[in-house]
């Protein structure tokens, strides 16, 4: 979607402020958001792509005004509401009015290590790749209202395939629960002048990871 998340190459966001690497959180509530978000994902009502879609679907004024953990929390509230697990009224009173629908899937403390260590690989068996390393490809001018991982700055641009990663779950369908539909995933590298025009840094190139449906042969 052409949402607030798609900021690559845009102007006006100001300076980058480095921070010490020993700093993990800026407030205790951020820790709770992290823990609750990961624990609630075990209920299986949504997947990673759907949670990204929930975050980028926040209204732009809210998205840009929020810290990243606030974005996570607001998206989580929406996901739980749509799953029928926690209503707006329950959130505002802080009291449960109904039983949990998937309490049997509640992540237990002793399962945490295994779940975090296992992760969730997105590679899948899939079709043979259409492109080879070294091929020139052009990204399509795709502008779906749903979730996609083709950033706006890299639409309708020509680059070179520099890596092939096998087939991976396709976020454009997975995010809307329309199936994993795995397809070949490539790294495609563009010269900055192709992306940002003649005044771009001539020493700069930028790569994205792009699924085959985003690409045509150049």
């Amino acid at each position: 979607m052409n949402g607030p998340q798609d900021v690559g190459g845009r102007h006006g966001f100001g300076t980058v402020v480095p921070e010490d690497e020993s700093l993990r959180f800026h407030a205790d509530w951020e820790k709770r958001v992290l823990g609750v978000t990961i624990a609630a994902a075990s209920l299986g009502h949504w997947n990673l792509d759907a949670s990204r879609f929930a975050r980028e679907s926040l209204p732009p004024a809210i998205y840009y005004g929020a810290s990243y953990y606030e974005i996570w929390l607001r998206a989580l509230e929406g996901l739980l509401e749509r799953a029928g697990e926690v209503s707006k009224r329950e959130r505002s009173t802080g009291r449960a009015e109904t039983r949990g629908l998937r309490a049997e899937r509640c992540l237990s403390a002793d399962a945490v290590d295994a779940v975090l260590s296992k992760g969730s690989p997105s590679s899948r068996p899939g079709a043979d790749p259409k492109f080879s390393i070294g091929d020139m490809v052009r990204t399509l001018n795709l502008q779906p209202s749903g979730h996609t991982r083709l950033p706006g700055y890299a639409r309708a641009r020509t680059g070179r395939v520099t890596a092939y990663h096998g087939s991976h779950v396709f976020p454009d369908t997975h995010s809307s629960f329309d199936g994993e539909k795995p397809c070949p995933l490539y790294t495609v590298c563009f010269e900055a002048v192709e992306l940002f025009g003649e005044t771009a840094d001539p020493t700069l190139s930028v790569s994205i990871d792009a699924w085959e449906p985003y690409l045509e042969r150049a």
Binding site: Q5, D6, V7, G8, G9, F13, G14, T15, V16, V17, P18, E19, E21, R24, F25, A27, D28, R32, V33, L34, G35, V36, A39, R52, E56, Y64, Y68, L73, L80, V86, R91, S92, T93, G94, R95, A96, R99, R102, S108, A111, L116, S117, G119, S120, P121, S123, R149, P151, Y153, A163, V169, L195, D201, T203, S205, V206, S207, D209, A210, W211
Partner: protein, 203 residues
């Protein structure tokens, strides 16, 4: 930024908001507070950038490991015990005197958790995400880093589930240092491409 103190009677808005949600989820049996604590403990104290620093130091010392890291970073990193969420598909990119690598996620905040832990605030900020792909040199200047003007820069936008780890160049004057000593020179920012490994000597 809210600064919440545990002893403060007035809860700030975000603290109250997450507490309300967590309370309802616990009452419904949908989350276990002990699991929430275990997740926090993991990313606050166990998984962090010292893991990545150990990987870099080994790559500097062990050519076979460096070769495996280049060919199959997921396997190389797993061989050191660093696996899991947000590190399922790893790629290592090596800085050299002619090319400098920088990692970003313009669309959200994708980051290699098993080797670097949770991303810093700046990595998730619109400022970094917007500018890293267009004007990385000026971003690096904000980290106090000036690259020679002829050095090529490659920016890796993490748009899929591939996670990138930058292997910074080994500093000069580190011959004979142990892996453990070398890993102390490897900063988190250098493994994102927003810094160099430190030179040996007084910190």
């Amino acid at each position: 930024m809210h600064d919440h103190s545990e002893t403060d009677g007035d809860m700030d808005d975000m603290t109250a908001r997450v507490l309300a949600l967590e309370t309802v989820l616990v009452e419904k049996g949908l989350i276990d507070p002990k699991a929430v604590e275990a997740i926090i403990e993991t990313y606050e104290h166990k998984v962090g950038p010292r893991n990545g620093a150990a990987v870099v130091a080994r790559a500097w010392c062990d050519e076979d490991f460096a070769e495996l890291l280049e060919r199959d970073a997921t396997a190389a990193i797993a061989s050191m015990g660093f696996v899991g969420r947000q590190g399922e598909h790893m790629v290592a990119v090596f800085n050299s005197s002619v090319e400098h690598n920088i990692v970003v996620c313009t669309l959200c905040s994708c980051y290699p958790w098993p080797v670097l832990g949770l991303p810093p605030s700046w990595y998730k900020s619109p400022a970094y995400r917007a500018r890293a792909v267009r004007e990385p040199r000026s971003v690096l200047e904000e980290f106090g880093i000036a690259l020679p003007k002829e050095t090529r820069i490659r920016v890796w936008d993490s748009t899929a589930e591939i996670r990138y780890l930058v292997i910074p160049e080994r500093p000069t004057g580190t011959e004979g240092m142990s892996e453990a000593q070398l890993s102390d020179l490897v900063t988190r920012d250098s493994m994102i491409g927003c810094g160099f490994a430190r030179s040996p000597g007084p910190a």
